[in-house]
Structures are given as C-alpha cells and as structure tokens.
Symmetry: C2
Subunit: 153 residues, 2 copies
DNA sequence: GATTATTTGGACTCTTTTATCTTAATATAG
DNA sequence: CTATATTAAGATAAAAGAGTCCAAATAATC
C-alpha cells in the first residue's frame, strides 16, 4: 500500500475537519462515527497530527479537534509526512539503504520520475480544494454515504 | 511502502537471473548470498514466482532457478502482480472499498493520474533493459557492491 | 464541589508481514 | 544403492502494523 492505514484515516479526518466551519471544534467521537473509523484508533492518529501542529485540540465539553490553520494552506503532503514520514519519498523501488543519485540502482531514473509524480500530487493538493470538489460533486469519504452526510449534524 | 519487501526481493532476484546466461540454473543459495537476502525467505518468494510461471526451478545437483522466458519479455509489472497482486493498482489513495470511477472519492482524479504513472513505469520496463543499464553503468543491486559483483562466480 | 464531556497517554491484544527452522522430495554422481 | 546438492512445503518465531481498552487529566456546567 502506498499509504499506511493510519495515514489514510488521517487524511479522511482532515478532509472532514476542513469541511467544517473554520474554528469549530469537532469531537473525535462524532468524526469516528461519521467516517466509520475506530474511535480509539482515530484518536491516536489525531494526536500525532496535533503534535505536529496541523490540528489543534481542546479538552472537555464543547471540546474536540479543529484545523490549526486554514484548509487551503494544508497540503496532503503535510499529513502524509506527519504520519508516514518521508519514507515514501526517500526510500524506494528496490529498497536499498542509503539511496540517492550518488549510488543509484538500475531502476533509479524511472522510479525517480514516478516518485516525483507522487510527490507533486501530494504537494499540489490542499484540503480545501478536495472539500470543494467533494461538495460540488457529492463524492464520498466513506464506504456508502456521499459527501453530504458529513454535514448532517 | 509502495512494494512489499517480498516483492522487492523478487525484483532483485529476477534482475539477478536476467543478468545470467540464458538457460543456466542458479542455486538459490548463491543468489541469497550475492543479494544479501535470507536464503529461506528468498526461497519462498521464488516459489511464488515459479508457481506463476515467471521462473522455472530444477532440483538436485546442478539445479536451481532460471527465468522461464527471455528477460526482455518480463515486465516489472509481471513480478509485482505475482507477489503483491493488483492491490496497488486497484485499491488506493483513500482506501475506500469498491473504488472506481462510478463511486469516486474527492482524490480520485488526481490519484488516478499518479497511479497510471506507476502502472506505466512497471509495464514499460523489462528485466533485460535494467540489466543492460546496470551493467553499462555499474549500478548497484545490493547495499554496497556495484552491479559487477553479481557476475563473479 | 460534583458530574459530565472530552482529550491524553499507556498498556494490551490481534493480525499481517517478515524471517527462521525443520523435514521431505527430487535429482545427480559415485 | 548411497551420499550429496538442491528445491518444496510446512511449522514456528519475531517484528511491525492495526486496533482495543482503561485510567488520568482537563474543561465546562450544574
Ligand atoms: S537508487 Fe533510486 S530507485 Fe533505486 S532504491 Fe535508491 S532511490 Fe530508489
Ligand atoms: S475513488 Fe479513486 S482515488 Fe478514491 S479511493 Fe477509490 S479508486 Fe482510490
């Protein structure tokens, strides 16, 4: 798998948050219900994103999680790096340690192009962009429901 | 990681075999030594590739493993499919079940492009091509050694 | 101050992947 | 036929990833 499950959940949750009114704290429980992700597992993932400064948390009643900066400044790459690290973009195709152009394997050239495509995609896509697209076309973030179910209270 | 470790080892071993005289059986032990991969683990992986008809095995003294068809007809994709399956090319970015253009997620369009780049790279690269490149430029298939160490007896 | 809603953090379990070990089967050579 | 070199197959073990559970901390409300 390209991204770990934790990372995928982190992306889905971040998209969910980006779809909410700016500044509003959303309880993890509500997110985990809507997104059909284990509450406790999601909690751990959001803690990582909070620690990285991408999200902000607040305890107690009316507490929850929100984005720490505007959704149009958060790239997918930010979330991937926070959860999966830079492994995807450094280590690669033949998995040899200490990779790079100084000591390449035969696949390096071709793989480097592909890897750049992945990197570009993650860097050039923001949460807001996807939320707008999802909202406009009612795309899905869960197995069944369309995008709209995320906005019902 | 894009590819599982089994898959990466399978690729390295296949490249090794493609670098050998056509028709020659190479014992797994020699491969595992040269490529610095656990013998027993590599054995299992090669069994899969043999079962898929990509490699051919022969028991007993003078036995070993060889490619079952010319290296210039074996795409990297063949090996990836045999070991990791089509998961990489079907399941994807947001990991939602039953994906596809009929029921897409907001990332679908962007991801589909990236995925096609990966697919293209794996489909348009043959073992022979990489072996020739590796040989010409003495690229590496192991942590330390250059390509040439693979050809010492 | 007590109760309740929430996040935090740690321990624990389950599953999959990765790796090792042991025995059997097969082929060759003497 | 025996010894040896090899792959095949299955059992087991270790490590990593995914998921669960519980107690503690914090904040709001009554
Ligand atoms: S040489 Fe390049 S393609 Fe090969 S493993 Fe290293 S970074 Fe990846
Ligand atoms: S909709 Fe497309 S990008 Fe999204 S998870 Fe499915 S196949 Fe992947």
């Amino acid at each position: 798998m390209l991204l770990s499950k934790s990372c995928v959940y982190g992306l889905r949750a971040s998209l969910y948050l980006a779809s909410k009114k700016e500044g509003e704290f959303i309880p993890i429980k509500r997110m985990s219900d809507k997104l059909e992700i284990s509450f406790h597992f999601l909690t751990k993932i959001l803690q990582q994103l909070t620690a990285e400064g991408i999200l902000e948390s607040f305890k107690g009643p009316n507490g929850g999680i929100r984005l720490n900066r505007p959704g149009n400044t958060v790239q997918l790459m930010d979330i991937v790096l926070a959860i999966d690290g830079e492994q995807l973009l450094t280590e690669c195709a033949l998995g040899l340690p200490g990779c790079g152009i100084k000591n390449p394997c035969p696949l390096h050239e071709k793989w480097a192009e592909t890897r750049d495509a992945i990197r570009g995609m993650l860097e050039n896509t923001t949460l807001t962009e996807l939320v707008e697209k999802g909202r406009a076309e009612n795309l899905r973030l869960t197995t069944d429901g369309g995008f709209d179910i995320l906005f019902q209270e």
